[in-house]
């Protein structure tokens, strides 16, 4: 009996995600979302609720479609250090070239955008942080098991340091930093791991 939606909600959410990702929650207006999606205000509000809910949904979509795949690839890659290197290589490529170059990471952007005020966003960011750290920690443990790293390495703290390094890459990429330079930086860091004395 009911009418049916004349558009694909997830497709619209992707447009909104891109807008919030690139311009931030404050500067991306509902009007801009309607233009980007081709939807009417009414459809947006009945489908997603207000702007806050729309931003949260977009942020969750970003995590689901952008962060999780990369984290899973890292977590399921059994090669240890090379897996970590590939993770960073792909990260830098995504940040410095292609359609989303200079947009940074929506998760990192959200730290500045809304973490200070909104507890729900903060919880999401904390969970994402924990997951990425765990994935990197697993890769480091694998590297230790395979003899690529010294058994005495503080893998937890090192994993945390690599997460912060990734955040730094994301921050710098917002100014259009060169991929070469970022790659050198990551290489140097992983080189430190490699060369650590037992």
């Amino acid at each position: 009996m009911p009418d049916i939606k004349h558009f694909d909600p997830d497709n619209a959410l992707e447009r909104a995600e891109r807008l919030f990702w690139q311009h931030g929650a404050a500067k991306a207006s509902i009007q801009a979302v309607t233009v980007a999606t081709g939807l009417n205000r009414s459809s947006l509000y009945t489908t997603f609720g207000g702007k806050r809910e729309l931003y949260m949904a977009a942020l969750r979509r970003y995590v689901r479609h952008r962060s999780w795949p990369a984290q899973r690839r890292l977590a399921e890659d059994g090669r240890g250090l090379p897996a970590i290197r590939d993770f960073f290589t792909a990260l830098i490529a995504a940040r410095c070239s292609g359609e989303h170059a200079g947009w940074g990471c929506m998760i990192v952007n959200a730290h500045v955008d809304g973490a200070h005020t909104d507890p729900e966003i903060r919880a999401l960011l904390d969970e994402h942080h924990r997951q990425l750290r765990d994935a990197l920690h697993a890769a480091l443990e694998t590297a230790v098991e395979q003899g690529q790293l010294s058994p005495g390495l503080a893998t937890e703290a090192t994993a945390e340091a690599l997460v912060l390094l990734a955040y730094g890459v994301n921050v710098r990429s917002r100014t259009g930093a060169a991929a070469d330079s970022l790659l050198d930086t990551v290489t140097a860091t992983l080189g430190l791991l490699d060369g650590a004395c037992p």
Copy 2:
């Protein structure tokens, strides 16, 4: 002949700086600045120009009053690694406790706030980045000279990596991350440096 200003411009600028620092350029309104400073709109506009100029002035003041002192302390400290450690310790203390806890770093925030659109901001961020990297690089060179680090260390890339680590600390501190955890992370990273094989 002229009348004289009935307020201290730099004092007003400091209030504006704090507002922009904490809430970001987009969410801090001129109205909020007038309340925080006690000034009238007219005085703000005749003294600083529009909002963009006010934000730029606040950002410059932040660099001058917050970043430069820490960088100078680091650059003039001749102890090598301990100087770097102290730099990070002070950074984390400033980010996680006291009046500005949870505000992050205004420079890093500006990467998300306005780097994408405004070339002038971008130039400022690039210059700040270069200066911090140079200061860390000098400290690393000192550490190598004093035998604290292996002569083969790639000091430039390592300095860049430390800058990105600092950015990561600033990002995470926006969610109220624990100082202990951040300190452990920094300790682990500096430990990697320390233990690098010659």
